[in-house]
Amino acid sequence: MTRLSSAQRHLVRFTLNGKPVQGEAEPRLLLTDFLRQTIGATGTHVGCEHGVCGACTITVDGELARACLTLAVQIDGCELRTVEGLAPAPDRLGVLQAAFRRNHALQCGFCTAGILMSLDHYLRAHPKPSEAEIRDLLSGHLCRCTGYTPIVQAALEAAAELAELSRSDHRDV
């Protein structure tokens, strides 16, 4: 049994987009604040802090999670992926990101980090999604300025392009 006292900060070690990182957190510290303020990874956004808007969506050990409904101390030893892990190189966009850009699937971009993480996770397991499936997945996200039509379009386009790439045996997501 591990008992972490409320009065202290505790070492949390984890993997962030393939790299080992660590920081100190009080038990009550949310993973959103830990990532943004302690680790300095500000790609993960914070909207509502009660799980509804989806802006903070990341993956923990390969499963989607709301970072605002997760405690920093809970992810000790876990593998995290955040939006910072999507681009293949600092000056290049991934297929999904490029599709968002082409389709004007973002305006302010506040919701985008979370939506990209959900779609990236989903497309890996479901290479041929239907529009209905994409819309069902997007029900877990709120976009207040772009509207969903271009987001759905970008997702379907990215899926088609990724399917094409995997046929020609590229593995550059």
Partner: protein, 270 residues
């Protein structure tokens, strides 16, 4: 919107979790998927002194299918149940209702038992448990007991679980293919305005409603048709004491109970 301070306990065995719960009682809270509790902590609607994380307990992460029932441990996430290959044949009502519980992004963390412990009146899993007549397996230091669904849900977010008890698992009767589920919500994945389930019984039908009364509520009826069914549904719709709120009026809720009820009861009695 940040939680008040608490100690965090990561239990490694069920015994440890029970022991810490026994020490602190009402000052401690179990955290499972966190999909309801974390929001309550963030809003400071809950201020436990100790949080007991049970998600690293391997022993609770299991689905056991025996003849006649399926037992789902407290560590089983909603997404894992949805992906269970036997779900559609063993628990057809759940395979219909579970996709309505939140979103892919919350089902990946939220647990089946956590939803039952939370006991939101609109939640799908408590409704399904009441409709099927399942039971909860509760455990505290040196004691185990089973509680039937209808006795477990005691009020809005209130249950028969004592402060020092952990829900170890839930059992759903399995195999009844003659069942139906329907929900009306503002958007798919939002909490239900009204959710209904119907299950064929030996002599007729059990019809259950969530989202209207403080607890999911069921009625057992013989084979009803025509105006007899309409009367039964109308009476039930009024007995549920619907209230007006920001989501819908009481009258709209009664309408939904009658309309959905007629469809579902006919469907399972066919």
């Amino acid at each position: 919107m940040k939680p008040a301070a608490f100690d965090y306990v990561r239990a490694e065995t069920l015994g440890e979790a029970i022991e810490v719960l026994a020490q602190h009682g009402g000052d401690a809270r179990i955290i499972a998927g966190g999909q309801s509790l974390m929001a309550m902590l963030n809003m400071r609607l809950a201020r436990p002194k100790v949080l007991i994380d049970i998600m690293r307990l391997r022993e609770l992460d299991r689905i056991d299918s025996t003849s006649g029932s399926v037992k789902i441990g407290a560590g089983v996430r909603q997404a894992a149940l949805l992906a269970w290959p036997e779900l559609a044949t063993s628990l057809p009502l759940l395979s219909k209702a579970l996709p309505w519980t939140g979103h892919a992004q919350t089902r990946s963390r939220g647990t089946v038992c956590g939803s039952l412990a939370h006991a939101d009146p609109s939640a799908e899993l408590p409704l399904a448990l009441v409709a099927l007549g399942g039971e909860l397996h509760l455990r505290s230091a040196g004691k185990q007991r089973k509680v039937a669904a209808r006795e477990f849900f005691a009020g809005m977010m209130a249950t028969a679980r004592a402060d020092d008890e952990l829900i170890e698992a839930v059992s759903f009767p399995s195999g009844n293919a003659r069942c139906a589920f329907r929900e009306v919500a503002r958007r798919h994945g939002d909490f239900a305005i009204v959710a209904c389930a119907a299950v064929a019984t030996k002599d007729g039908v059990r019809f259950a409603v969530g989202g209207v009364a403080d607890v999911p509520t069921a009625r057992d009826w013989p084979r009803l048709e025509g105006s007899a069914l309409d009367d039964a549904l109308n009476g039930f719709a009024h007995e549920l004491d619907a209230r007006d709120d920001v989501h819908a009026t009481a009258r709209y809720r009664r309408d939904l109970v009658r309309l959905i009820g007629r469809d579902l009861v006919r469907e399972v009695l066919q």
